[in-house]
Symmetry: C2
Subunit: 315 residues, 2 copies
Protein backbone atom coordinates (compact mmCIF):
# COMPACT_ATOMS: atom_id res chain seq x y z
CA UNK A 1 0.00 0.00 0.00
CA UNK A 2 1.27 3.52 -0.79
CA UNK A 3 0.97 5.45 2.47
CA UNK A 4 1.78 9.02 3.50
CA UNK A 5 2.32 9.38 7.24
CA UNK A 6 1.49 12.98 8.09
CA UNK A 7 3.18 13.86 11.38
CA UNK A 8 6.28 11.85 12.22
CA UNK A 9 6.56 12.39 15.96
CA UNK A 10 6.73 9.43 18.30
CA UNK A 11 3.55 7.73 17.14
CA UNK A 12 4.07 8.55 13.46
CA UNK A 13 7.50 6.97 13.71
CA UNK A 14 6.06 3.75 15.11
CA UNK A 15 3.50 3.43 12.33
CA UNK A 16 5.87 4.49 9.55
CA UNK A 17 8.57 2.08 10.68
CA UNK A 18 6.30 -0.91 11.12
CA UNK A 19 4.46 -0.28 7.86
CA UNK A 20 7.69 0.18 5.89
CA UNK A 21 9.26 -2.89 7.49
CA UNK A 22 6.24 -4.87 6.28
CA UNK A 23 6.94 -3.79 2.71
CA UNK A 24 4.60 -0.86 2.24
CA UNK A 25 5.65 2.22 0.27
CA UNK A 26 5.81 4.85 3.03
CA UNK A 27 6.35 8.59 2.59
CA UNK A 28 6.95 10.86 5.59
CA UNK A 29 5.41 14.32 5.94
CA UNK A 30 6.68 16.52 8.74
CA UNK A 31 6.10 20.16 9.69
CA UNK A 32 8.79 20.64 12.31
CA UNK A 33 11.94 21.66 10.44
CA UNK A 34 14.46 20.18 12.90
CA UNK A 35 12.65 16.88 12.80
CA UNK A 36 12.37 16.96 9.01
CA UNK A 37 16.10 17.67 8.70
CA UNK A 38 16.86 14.66 10.91
CA UNK A 39 14.53 12.45 8.85
CA UNK A 40 16.24 13.54 5.62
CA UNK A 41 19.85 13.27 6.77
CA UNK A 42 19.81 10.48 9.34
CA UNK A 43 16.69 8.61 8.33
CA UNK A 44 13.91 7.40 10.60
CA UNK A 45 15.64 6.26 13.78
CA UNK A 46 14.11 4.63 16.81
CA UNK A 47 14.78 2.26 19.64
CA UNK A 48 12.07 -0.26 18.87
CA UNK A 49 11.48 -2.85 21.59
CA UNK A 50 15.09 -2.56 22.71
CA UNK A 51 16.68 -2.59 19.23
CA UNK A 52 18.13 0.39 17.43
CA UNK A 53 16.44 0.70 14.03
CA UNK A 54 17.13 3.06 11.13
CA UNK A 55 15.24 3.32 7.84
CA UNK A 56 15.72 5.80 5.02
CA UNK A 57 12.30 6.86 3.75
CA UNK A 58 11.30 9.79 1.53
CA UNK A 59 10.55 12.77 3.78
CA UNK A 60 8.92 16.09 2.84
CA UNK A 61 7.62 19.31 4.26
CA UNK A 62 3.83 19.46 3.82
CA UNK A 63 3.93 21.78 0.79
CA UNK A 64 6.66 19.74 -0.94
CA UNK A 65 5.07 16.29 -1.14
CA UNK A 66 4.79 15.06 -4.78
CA UNK A 67 1.11 14.40 -5.43
CA UNK A 68 1.77 11.80 -8.14
CA UNK A 69 1.62 8.88 -8.12
CA UNK A 70 -1.35 9.16 -5.79
CA UNK A 71 -1.45 7.76 -2.26
CA UNK A 72 -3.78 4.95 -1.22
CA UNK A 73 -3.80 6.25 2.34
CA UNK A 74 -2.88 9.46 4.13
CA UNK A 75 -2.45 8.62 7.81
CA UNK A 76 -2.65 11.59 10.18
CA UNK A 77 -0.64 11.27 13.38
CA UNK A 78 0.20 14.89 14.09
CA UNK A 79 -0.65 16.92 17.20
CA UNK A 80 -4.27 18.06 17.33
CA UNK A 81 -3.51 21.77 17.10
CA UNK A 82 -1.54 21.22 13.88
CA UNK A 83 -4.25 19.21 12.14
CA UNK A 84 -6.27 22.07 10.65
CA UNK A 85 -3.24 23.63 8.91
CA UNK A 86 -1.76 20.33 7.83
CA UNK A 87 -5.04 18.94 6.48
CA UNK A 88 -5.46 22.06 4.36
CA UNK A 89 -1.88 22.07 3.06
CA UNK A 90 -2.09 18.42 2.06
CA UNK A 91 -5.23 18.88 -0.08
CA UNK A 92 -3.34 18.04 -3.32
CA UNK A 93 -2.78 14.53 -1.91
CA UNK A 94 -6.46 13.65 -1.54
CA UNK A 95 -6.88 12.02 -4.96
CA UNK A 96 -9.94 10.10 -6.19
CA UNK A 97 -8.45 6.79 -4.93
CA UNK A 98 -7.08 8.18 -1.65
CA UNK A 99 -8.51 7.44 1.78
CA UNK A 100 -7.62 9.51 4.81
CA UNK A 101 -7.19 7.85 8.19
CA UNK A 102 -6.93 9.75 11.48
CA UNK A 103 -5.62 7.84 14.52
CA UNK A 104 -4.76 10.90 16.59
CA UNK A 105 -5.58 11.69 20.19
CA UNK A 106 -8.45 14.07 20.59
CA UNK A 107 -12.12 14.21 19.74
CA UNK A 108 -13.79 15.75 16.69
CA UNK A 109 -10.94 15.51 14.17
CA UNK A 110 -13.29 14.04 11.56
CA UNK A 111 -14.99 17.44 11.50
CA UNK A 112 -11.69 19.18 10.74
CA UNK A 113 -10.72 16.67 8.05
CA UNK A 114 -14.27 16.73 6.70
CA UNK A 115 -13.65 20.22 5.34
CA UNK A 116 -11.31 18.74 2.72
CA UNK A 117 -12.25 15.08 2.47
CA UNK A 118 -15.75 13.67 1.96
CA UNK A 119 -17.03 11.47 4.82
CA UNK A 120 -16.97 8.52 2.37
CA UNK A 121 -13.17 8.79 2.11
CA UNK A 122 -12.53 9.17 5.85
CA UNK A 123 -11.45 6.40 8.19
CA UNK A 124 -11.22 7.09 11.91
CA UNK A 125 -9.74 5.32 14.88
CA UNK A 126 -7.24 5.54 17.67
CA UNK A 127 -4.16 3.85 18.98
CA UNK A 128 -3.21 2.41 22.35
CA UNK A 129 0.43 2.17 21.34
CA UNK A 130 2.83 4.40 23.24
CA UNK A 131 5.74 6.39 21.86
CA UNK A 132 8.22 8.89 23.17
CA UNK A 133 10.26 11.37 21.18
CA UNK A 134 13.16 12.50 23.31
CA UNK A 135 15.03 14.43 20.59
CA UNK A 136 14.29 15.52 17.00
CA UNK A 137 16.41 12.60 15.81
CA UNK A 138 15.33 9.80 18.08
CA UNK A 139 12.20 8.01 19.23
CA UNK A 140 11.72 5.43 21.99
CA UNK A 141 9.15 2.74 21.21
CA UNK A 142 8.37 0.19 23.92
CA UNK A 143 5.27 -1.35 25.58
CA UNK A 144 2.76 -3.55 23.84
CA UNK A 145 -0.20 -1.87 22.18
CA UNK A 146 -2.99 -2.05 19.67
CA UNK A 147 -5.07 0.17 17.45
CA UNK A 148 -8.62 0.36 16.18
CA UNK A 149 -10.15 1.87 13.07
CA UNK A 150 -13.28 1.85 11.01
CA UNK A 151 -15.26 3.51 8.29
CA UNK A 152 -17.20 6.70 9.03
CA UNK A 153 -20.10 5.69 6.79
CA UNK A 154 -21.64 2.46 5.48
CA UNK A 155 -20.34 3.11 1.96
CA UNK A 156 -19.28 -0.36 0.72
CA UNK A 157 -15.98 0.73 -0.89
CA UNK A 158 -15.10 2.62 2.29
CA UNK A 159 -15.99 -0.36 4.49
CA UNK A 160 -13.85 -2.52 2.22
CA UNK A 161 -10.94 -0.07 2.51
CA UNK A 162 -11.19 -0.13 6.32
CA UNK A 163 -10.84 -3.91 6.16
CA UNK A 164 -7.90 -3.64 3.75
CA UNK A 165 -6.13 -1.17 6.04
CA UNK A 166 -6.74 -3.51 8.98
CA UNK A 167 -5.14 -6.33 6.96
CA UNK A 168 -2.13 -4.17 6.07
CA UNK A 169 -1.74 -3.01 9.67
CA UNK A 170 -2.09 -6.58 10.84
CA UNK A 171 0.75 -7.71 8.58
CA UNK A 172 2.81 -4.86 10.01
CA UNK A 173 2.24 -6.07 13.59
CA UNK A 174 0.23 -3.02 14.58
CA UNK A 175 -2.52 -5.18 16.14
CA UNK A 176 -5.49 -3.42 14.55
CA UNK A 177 -9.12 -4.09 15.30
CA UNK A 178 -11.92 -3.23 12.88
CA UNK A 179 -14.56 -0.95 14.37
CA UNK A 180 -18.23 -0.69 13.49
CA UNK A 181 -18.52 2.72 15.12
CA UNK A 182 -15.16 4.50 15.18
CA UNK A 183 -16.60 7.69 16.69
CA UNK A 184 -17.64 5.68 19.75
CA UNK A 185 -14.15 4.29 20.03
CA UNK A 186 -12.59 7.74 19.73
CA UNK A 187 -14.80 8.98 22.53
CA UNK A 188 -13.84 5.94 24.63
CA UNK A 189 -10.17 6.62 23.97
CA UNK A 190 -10.84 10.24 24.84
CA UNK A 191 -11.77 9.02 28.32
CA UNK A 192 -8.26 7.59 28.69
CA UNK A 193 -6.66 10.83 27.54
CA UNK A 194 -9.06 13.02 29.49
CA UNK A 195 -8.26 11.25 32.73
CA UNK A 196 -4.73 9.84 32.62
CA UNK A 197 -3.05 12.28 30.22
CA UNK A 198 -4.52 15.28 31.94
CA UNK A 199 -4.06 14.22 35.56
CA UNK A 200 -0.58 12.75 35.03
CA UNK A 201 0.40 16.05 33.41
CA UNK A 202 -1.00 18.17 36.21
CA UNK A 203 0.28 15.93 38.98
CA UNK A 204 3.52 14.94 37.24
CA UNK A 205 3.41 11.19 37.59
CA UNK A 206 3.14 8.12 35.41
CA UNK A 207 0.01 6.08 34.85
CA UNK A 208 0.71 3.44 37.52
CA UNK A 209 1.66 6.02 40.15
CA UNK A 210 -1.63 7.85 39.61
CA UNK A 211 -3.58 4.60 39.68
CA UNK A 212 -2.16 3.68 43.06
CA UNK A 213 -3.58 6.76 44.80
CA UNK A 214 -6.85 6.45 46.71
CA UNK A 215 -8.72 9.29 44.93
CA UNK A 216 -7.93 7.85 41.46
CA UNK A 217 -11.11 5.84 40.96
CA UNK A 218 -13.51 8.62 41.96
CA UNK A 219 -11.66 11.14 39.80
CA UNK A 220 -11.69 8.86 36.75
CA UNK A 221 -15.35 8.05 37.17
CA UNK A 222 -16.41 11.68 37.56
CA UNK A 223 -14.53 12.69 34.42
CA UNK A 224 -15.76 9.74 32.34
CA UNK A 225 -19.35 10.61 33.32
CA UNK A 226 -18.90 14.05 31.78
CA UNK A 227 -17.57 12.51 28.55
CA UNK A 228 -20.61 10.23 28.54
CA UNK A 229 -23.06 13.07 29.14
CA UNK A 230 -21.66 15.08 26.24
CA UNK A 231 -21.34 11.99 24.03
CA UNK A 232 -25.02 11.20 24.63
CA UNK A 233 -25.90 14.59 23.13
CA UNK A 234 -24.04 13.50 19.99
CA UNK A 235 -25.74 10.12 19.81
CA UNK A 236 -22.81 8.24 21.36
CA UNK A 237 -23.97 6.22 24.33
CA UNK A 238 -20.81 5.45 26.24
CA UNK A 239 -20.83 2.50 28.64
CA UNK A 240 -19.46 4.37 31.68
CA UNK A 241 -18.49 1.31 33.72
CA UNK A 242 -16.72 -0.26 30.75
CA UNK A 243 -14.93 3.00 29.90
CA UNK A 244 -13.78 3.41 33.52
CA UNK A 245 -12.51 -0.18 33.52
CA UNK A 246 -10.74 0.54 30.22
CA UNK A 247 -8.99 3.56 31.75
CA UNK A 248 -8.05 1.57 34.84
CA UNK A 249 -6.63 -1.29 32.78
CA UNK A 250 -3.92 1.18 31.73
CA UNK A 251 -2.53 1.17 35.29
CA UNK A 252 -1.03 -2.23 34.57
CA UNK A 253 -0.86 -2.38 30.75
CA UNK A 254 1.08 0.90 30.31
CA UNK A 255 1.78 1.69 33.96
CA UNK A 256 5.31 2.99 33.49
CA UNK A 257 4.20 5.24 30.66
CA UNK A 258 4.23 9.02 30.96
CA UNK A 259 1.35 10.06 28.68
CA UNK A 260 1.92 12.16 25.58
CA UNK A 261 0.52 15.28 27.25
CA UNK A 262 3.05 14.88 30.05
CA UNK A 263 5.80 14.57 27.46
CA UNK A 264 4.50 17.61 25.61
CA UNK A 265 4.25 19.95 28.58
CA UNK A 266 6.40 18.63 31.41
CA UNK A 267 9.28 17.17 29.41
CA UNK A 268 9.31 19.27 26.23
CA UNK A 269 7.56 22.45 27.39
CA UNK A 270 5.17 22.43 24.46
CA UNK A 271 1.46 23.35 24.37
CA UNK A 272 -0.86 20.41 25.04
CA UNK A 273 -3.83 18.89 23.22
CA UNK A 274 -6.13 19.68 26.17
CA UNK A 275 -8.55 21.72 23.99
CA UNK A 276 -9.22 18.59 21.92
CA UNK A 277 -9.78 16.33 24.93
CA UNK A 278 -11.30 17.74 28.16
CA UNK A 279 -11.63 21.07 26.38
CA UNK A 280 -13.74 19.45 23.66
CA UNK A 281 -16.08 18.02 26.29
CA UNK A 282 -16.27 21.33 28.19
CA UNK A 283 -16.97 23.31 24.99
CA UNK A 284 -19.55 20.94 23.57
CA UNK A 285 -21.06 20.46 27.05
CA UNK A 286 -21.57 24.19 27.34
CA UNK A 287 -23.12 24.37 23.86
CA UNK A 288 -25.49 21.50 24.69
CA UNK A 289 -26.36 22.68 28.20
CA UNK A 290 -24.53 19.82 29.92
CA UNK A 291 -22.56 20.69 33.06
CA UNK A 292 -18.90 19.66 32.78
CA UNK A 293 -17.20 21.29 35.77
CA UNK A 294 -14.48 18.65 35.99
CA UNK A 295 -13.47 19.02 32.34
CA UNK A 296 -13.72 22.79 32.61
CA UNK A 297 -11.45 22.92 35.63
CA UNK A 298 -8.93 20.47 34.16
CA UNK A 299 -8.78 22.42 30.91
CA UNK A 300 -8.25 25.66 32.81
CA UNK A 301 -5.59 24.11 35.05
CA UNK A 302 -3.63 22.76 32.09
CA UNK A 303 -3.78 26.14 30.38
CA UNK A 304 -2.52 27.79 33.58
CA UNK A 305 0.35 25.32 33.64
CA UNK A 306 1.14 25.97 29.95
CA UNK A 307 1.26 29.70 30.63
CA UNK A 308 3.35 29.32 33.80
CA UNK A 309 5.89 27.31 31.81
CA UNK A 310 5.71 29.58 28.75
CA UNK A 311 5.07 26.46 26.68
CA UNK A 312 5.82 26.89 22.99
CA UNK A 313 6.40 24.84 19.88
CA UNK A 314 9.99 24.53 18.69
CA UNK A 315 9.18 24.88 15.06
Amino acid sequence: MRIAVAGVGGMGTRFALKLAQAGNDVTLVETWSARLAALKTQGLQAKLDGQEVTMQLPAYAPDEVPATPGFDLVLFLTKSMQLADLARTLQPLYGPQTYVLCLMNGIGHEQTLGKYVPQERLLLGNTMWTAQMARPDHVLLQDDGSCELGSLTADPAQVQMAQTVVDVFNQAGLKPRLLDDPRYSVFRKGCVNGTLNTLCTLLECNVAEFGQTTPAHALVEAIVKEFAAVGAKQGLHLDVAEAVAHVESCYTVIGEHYPSMYQDLVVNNRPTEIDYINGYVARHGQAAGVATPYCQMLTAQVHVKEQLRHAHNDQ
Copy 2:
Protein backbone atom coordinates in the same frame (compact mmCIF):
# COMPACT_ATOMS: atom_id res chain seq x y z
CA MET B 1 -1.65 40.21 78.56
CA ARG B 2 -0.59 36.65 79.44
CA ILE B 3 -0.77 34.73 76.18
CA ALA B 4 -0.04 31.11 75.21
CA VAL B 5 0.72 30.71 71.52
CA ALA B 6 -0.24 27.15 70.61
CA GLY B 7 1.62 26.19 67.44
CA VAL B 8 4.85 28.07 66.78
CA GLY B 9 5.34 27.50 63.08
CA GLY B 10 5.80 30.44 60.76
CA MET B 11 2.63 32.29 61.70
CA GLY B 12 2.89 31.44 65.41
CA THR B 13 6.38 32.87 65.36
CA ARG B 14 5.18 36.15 63.88
CA PHE B 15 2.46 36.59 66.49
CA ALA B 16 4.60 35.44 69.43
CA LEU B 17 7.49 37.72 68.46
CA LYS B 18 5.37 40.81 67.87
CA LEU B 19 3.30 40.29 71.01
CA ALA B 20 6.38 39.68 73.16
CA GLN B 21 8.19 42.68 71.66
CA ALA B 22 5.18 44.79 72.67
CA GLY B 23 5.62 43.71 76.29
CA ASN B 24 3.11 40.87 76.59
CA ASP B 25 3.90 37.75 78.64
CA VAL B 26 4.11 35.11 75.91
CA THR B 27 4.46 31.35 76.39
CA LEU B 28 5.15 29.04 73.44
CA VAL B 29 3.47 25.65 73.00
CA GLU B 30 4.85 23.38 70.30
CA THR B 31 4.15 19.76 69.30
CA TRP B 32 6.99 19.16 66.85
CA SER B 33 9.96 18.00 68.92
CA ALA B 34 12.70 19.37 66.62
CA ARG B 35 11.02 22.76 66.60
CA LEU B 36 10.51 22.70 70.38
CA ALA B 37 14.17 21.83 70.92
CA ALA B 38 15.20 24.78 68.75
CA LEU B 39 12.86 27.11 70.67
CA LYS B 40 14.32 25.96 73.99
CA THR B 41 17.99 26.06 73.06
CA GLN B 42 18.22 28.85 70.49
CA GLY B 43 15.13 30.84 71.33
CA LEU B 44 12.56 32.17 68.88
CA GLN B 45 14.52 33.23 65.80
CA ALA B 46 13.27 34.92 62.68
CA LYS B 47 14.23 37.25 59.90
CA LEU B 48 11.58 39.89 60.50
CA ASP B 49 11.28 42.49 57.73
CA GLY B 50 14.93 42.03 56.86
CA GLN B 51 16.31 42.02 60.42
CA GLU B 52 17.49 38.96 62.33
CA VAL B 53 15.60 38.75 65.62
CA THR B 54 15.99 36.35 68.54
CA MET B 55 13.88 36.20 71.70
CA GLN B 56 14.07 33.70 74.52
CA LEU B 57 10.54 32.81 75.59
CA PRO B 58 9.28 29.93 77.75
CA ALA B 59 8.54 26.97 75.46
CA TYR B 60 6.72 23.74 76.30
CA ALA B 61 5.36 20.58 74.78
CA PRO B 62 1.55 20.59 75.01
CA ASP B 63 1.34 18.29 78.03
CA GLU B 64 4.04 20.19 79.94
CA VAL B 65 2.61 23.72 80.03
CA PRO B 66 2.15 24.96 83.62
CA ALA B 67 -1.55 25.78 84.07
CA THR B 68 -0.93 28.38 86.81
CA PRO B 69 -0.94 31.28 86.76
CA GLY B 70 -3.76 31.14 84.25
CA PHE B 71 -3.57 32.54 80.73
CA ASP B 72 -5.71 35.44 79.56
CA LEU B 73 -5.56 34.15 76.02
CA VAL B 74 -4.68 30.86 74.29
CA LEU B 75 -3.97 31.68 70.65
CA PHE B 76 -4.16 28.71 68.27
CA LEU B 77 -1.94 28.94 65.20
CA THR B 78 -1.21 25.28 64.56
CA LYS B 79 -1.94 23.29 61.40
CA SER B 80 -5.60 22.30 61.04
CA MET B 81 -5.01 18.58 61.33
CA GLN B 82 -3.24 19.04 64.65
CA LEU B 83 -5.97 21.17 66.22
CA ALA B 84 -8.21 18.40 67.59
CA ASP B 85 -5.37 16.73 69.50
CA LEU B 86 -3.81 19.96 70.66
CA ALA B 87 -7.11 21.49 71.80
CA ARG B 88 -7.80 18.39 73.89
CA THR B 89 -4.31 18.24 75.42
CA LEU B 90 -4.41 21.89 76.39
CA GLN B 91 -7.72 21.57 78.33
CA PRO B 92 -6.02 22.35 81.70
CA LEU B 93 -5.20 25.82 80.33
CA TYR B 94 -8.81 26.87 79.70
CA GLY B 95 -9.37 28.52 83.10
CA PRO B 96 -12.42 30.57 84.09
CA GLN B 97 -10.71 33.81 82.95
CA THR B 98 -9.19 32.36 79.78
CA TYR B 99 -10.35 33.15 76.28
CA VAL B 100 -9.36 31.02 73.31
CA LEU B 101 -8.64 32.67 69.95
CA CYS B 102 -8.26 30.74 66.70
CA LEU B 103 -6.67 32.59 63.76
CA MET B 104 -5.82 29.49 61.74
CA ASN B 105 -6.44 28.74 58.10
CA GLY B 106 -9.37 26.47 57.54
CA ILE B 107 -13.10 26.49 58.16
CA GLY B 108 -15.03 25.04 61.09
CA HIS B 109 -12.34 25.16 63.77
CA GLU B 110 -14.79 26.73 66.23
CA GLN B 111 -16.64 23.41 66.18
CA THR B 112 -13.47 21.52 67.14
CA LEU B 113 -12.56 23.99 69.88
CA GLY B 114 -16.20 24.10 71.00
CA LYS B 115 -15.83 20.58 72.38
CA TYR B 116 -13.61 21.97 75.15
CA VAL B 117 -14.38 25.67 75.34
CA PRO B 118 -17.86 27.24 75.61
CA GLN B 119 -18.84 29.49 72.70
CA GLU B 120 -18.81 32.44 75.12
CA ARG B 121 -15.06 32.01 75.63
CA LEU B 122 -14.19 31.59 71.95
CA LEU B 123 -12.83 34.30 69.70
CA LEU B 124 -12.39 33.59 66.01
CA GLY B 125 -10.64 35.27 63.14
CA ASN B 126 -7.99 34.95 60.52
CA THR B 127 -4.78 36.50 59.39
CA MET B 128 -3.55 37.88 56.08
CA TRP B 129 0.04 37.96 57.32
CA THR B 130 2.46 35.63 55.59
CA ALA B 131 5.19 33.50 57.15
CA GLN B 132 7.62 30.91 55.98
CA MET B 133 9.42 28.34 58.10
CA ALA B 134 12.41 27.06 56.15
CA ARG B 135 14.01 25.07 58.98
CA PRO B 136 13.00 24.02 62.51
CA ASP B 137 15.16 26.84 63.83
CA HIS B 138 14.34 29.69 61.50
CA VAL B 139 11.38 31.63 60.17
CA LEU B 140 11.18 34.21 57.39
CA LEU B 141 8.68 37.02 57.98
CA GLN B 142 8.20 39.58 55.25
CA ASP B 143 5.29 41.25 53.39
CA ASP B 144 2.77 43.57 54.96
CA GLY B 145 -0.37 42.02 56.44
CA SER B 146 -3.30 42.34 58.76
CA CYS B 147 -5.62 40.21 60.87
CA GLU B 148 -9.24 40.18 61.90
CA LEU B 149 -11.03 38.76 64.91
CA GLY B 150 -14.29 38.92 66.77
CA SER B 151 -16.51 37.35 69.36
CA LEU B 152 -18.52 34.25 68.47
CA THR B 153 -21.53 35.39 70.53
CA ALA B 154 -23.00 38.70 71.74
CA ASP B 155 -21.94 37.98 75.33
CA PRO B 156 -20.82 41.43 76.64
CA ALA B 157 -17.69 40.19 78.44
CA GLN B 158 -16.69 38.26 75.33
CA VAL B 159 -17.30 41.24 73.06
CA GLN B 160 -15.22 43.33 75.46
CA MET B 161 -12.41 40.76 75.37
CA ALA B 162 -12.41 40.81 71.56
CA GLN B 163 -11.89 44.59 71.73
CA THR B 164 -9.14 44.19 74.34
CA VAL B 165 -7.33 41.64 72.15
CA VAL B 166 -7.64 43.98 69.18
CA ASP B 167 -6.05 46.74 71.29
CA VAL B 168 -3.21 44.46 72.38
CA PHE B 169 -2.64 43.27 68.79
CA ASN B 170 -2.75 46.85 67.61
CA GLN B 171 -0.02 47.86 70.04
CA ALA B 172 2.01 44.91 68.74
CA GLY B 173 1.71 46.14 65.14
CA LEU B 174 -0.38 43.18 64.03
CA LYS B 175 -2.92 45.46 62.31
CA PRO B 176 -6.05 43.84 63.72
CA ARG B 177 -9.61 44.67 62.73
CA LEU B 178 -12.58 43.93 64.96
CA LEU B 179 -15.22 41.77 63.31
CA ASP B 180 -18.94 41.66 63.97
CA ASP B 181 -19.27 38.25 62.35
CA PRO B 182 -16.00 36.34 62.49
CA ARG B 183 -17.48 33.21 60.89
CA TYR B 184 -18.25 35.26 57.78
CA SER B 185 -14.67 36.49 57.73
CA VAL B 186 -13.29 32.98 58.14
CA PHE B 187 -15.36 31.82 55.18
CA ARG B 188 -14.15 34.82 53.17
CA LYS B 189 -10.55 33.98 54.07
CA GLY B 190 -11.33 30.39 53.16
CA CYS B 191 -11.96 31.64 49.63
CA VAL B 192 -8.38 32.92 49.49
CA ASN B 193 -7.00 29.62 50.73
CA GLY B 194 -9.37 27.50 48.63
CA THR B 195 -8.28 29.26 45.45
CA LEU B 196 -4.70 30.51 45.79
CA ASN B 197 -3.28 28.02 48.29
CA THR B 198 -4.77 25.07 46.49
CA LEU B 199 -4.03 26.10 42.92
CA CYS B 200 -0.53 27.42 43.66
CA THR B 201 0.21 24.09 45.35
CA LEU B 202 -1.12 22.02 42.46
CA LEU B 203 0.44 24.19 39.77
CA GLU B 204 3.60 25.05 41.73
CA CYS B 205 3.67 28.80 41.35
CA ASN B 206 3.39 31.88 43.52
CA VAL B 207 0.33 34.05 43.88
CA ALA B 208 1.31 36.65 41.27
CA GLU B 209 2.31 34.03 38.70
CA PHE B 210 -1.08 32.35 39.02
CA GLY B 211 -2.87 35.69 38.85
CA GLN B 212 -1.22 36.54 35.55
CA THR B 213 -2.66 33.52 33.71
CA THR B 214 -5.77 33.96 31.61
CA PRO B 215 -7.88 31.21 33.26
CA ALA B 216 -7.25 32.62 36.77
CA HIS B 217 -10.36 34.77 37.05
CA ALA B 218 -12.81 32.09 35.92
CA LEU B 219 -11.21 29.50 38.19
CA VAL B 220 -11.34 31.77 41.23
CA GLU B 221 -14.93 32.75 40.57
CA ALA B 222 -16.11 29.17 40.12
CA ILE B 223 -14.49 28.08 43.38
CA VAL B 224 -15.73 31.08 45.37
CA LYS B 225 -19.27 30.37 44.16
CA GLU B 226 -19.07 26.92 45.73
CA PHE B 227 -17.89 28.41 49.03
CA ALA B 228 -20.83 30.83 48.84
CA ALA B 229 -23.36 28.08 48.10
CA VAL B 230 -22.23 26.01 51.08
CA GLY B 231 -21.92 29.09 53.30
CA ALA B 232 -25.51 30.05 52.47
CA LYS B 233 -26.65 26.69 53.89
CA GLN B 234 -24.95 27.72 57.14
CA GLY B 235 -26.51 31.19 57.22
CA LEU B 236 -23.40 32.91 55.85
CA HIS B 237 -24.27 34.98 52.82
CA LEU B 238 -20.96 35.61 51.12
CA ASP B 239 -20.70 38.55 48.73
CA VAL B 240 -19.22 36.63 45.78
CA ALA B 241 -17.99 39.63 43.80
CA GLU B 242 -16.34 41.12 46.90
CA ALA B 243 -14.76 37.79 47.86
CA VAL B 244 -13.40 37.32 44.32
CA ALA B 245 -11.98 40.86 44.39
CA HIS B 246 -10.46 40.08 47.80
CA VAL B 247 -8.74 36.97 46.39
CA GLU B 248 -7.53 38.91 43.37
CA SER B 249 -6.12 41.71 45.53
CA CYS B 250 -3.59 39.13 46.74
CA TYR B 251 -1.97 39.06 43.27
CA THR B 252 -0.37 42.40 44.09
CA VAL B 253 -0.43 42.55 47.91
CA ILE B 254 1.33 39.21 48.47
CA GLY B 255 2.23 38.36 44.88
CA GLU B 256 5.65 36.93 45.58
CA HIS B 257 4.27 34.71 48.32
CA TYR B 258 4.16 30.94 48.04
CA PRO B 259 1.09 30.04 50.12
CA SER B 260 1.39 27.93 53.25
CA MET B 261 -0.05 24.86 51.50
CA TYR B 262 2.68 25.13 48.86
CA GLN B 263 5.27 25.34 51.62
CA ASP B 264 3.72 22.35 53.38
CA LEU B 265 3.55 20.03 50.40
CA VAL B 266 5.93 21.25 47.71
CA VAL B 267 8.74 22.59 49.89
CA ASN B 268 8.48 20.49 53.05
CA ASN B 269 6.67 17.39 51.79
CA ARG B 270 4.09 17.52 54.56
CA PRO B 271 0.36 16.77 54.39
CA THR B 272 -1.79 19.80 53.61
CA GLU B 273 -4.81 21.44 55.22
CA ILE B 274 -6.95 20.75 52.15
CA ASP B 275 -9.60 18.82 54.15
CA TYR B 276 -10.26 21.97 56.17
CA ILE B 277 -10.51 24.25 53.15
CA ASN B 278 -11.89 22.91 49.82
CA GLY B 279 -12.47 19.59 51.57
CA TYR B 280 -14.69 21.32 54.15
CA VAL B 281 -16.79 22.84 51.37
CA ALA B 282 -17.01 19.54 49.47
CA ARG B 283 -18.00 17.58 52.60
CA HIS B 284 -20.56 20.08 53.85
CA GLY B 285 -21.82 20.61 50.31
CA GLN B 286 -22.47 16.91 49.97
CA ALA B 287 -24.24 16.80 53.34
CA ALA B 288 -26.42 19.77 52.36
CA GLY B 289 -27.13 18.63 48.81
CA VAL B 290 -25.07 21.41 47.20
CA ALA B 291 -22.93 20.44 44.18
CA THR B 292 -19.26 21.34 44.71
CA PRO B 293 -17.42 19.61 41.84
CA TYR B 294 -14.57 22.13 41.80
CA CYS B 295 -13.83 21.73 45.50
CA GLN B 296 -14.22 17.96 45.22
CA MET B 297 -11.77 17.73 42.36
CA LEU B 298 -9.25 20.07 43.97
CA THR B 299 -9.39 18.13 47.23
CA ALA B 300 -8.88 14.86 45.38
CA GLN B 301 -6.02 16.28 43.31
CA VAL B 302 -4.20 17.56 46.39
CA HIS B 303 -4.61 14.18 48.09
CA VAL B 304 -3.22 12.47 44.97
CA LYS B 305 -0.25 14.83 45.09
CA GLU B 306 0.29 14.15 48.83
CA GLN B 307 0.29 10.42 48.14
CA LEU B 308 2.57 10.70 45.11
CA ARG B 309 5.07 12.61 47.26
CA HIS B 310 4.60 10.34 50.31
CA ALA B 311 3.97 13.50 52.32
CA HIS B 312 4.49 13.04 56.06
CA ASN B 313 4.95 15.06 59.20
CA ASP B 314 8.47 15.21 60.61
CA GLN B 315 7.40 14.92 64.18
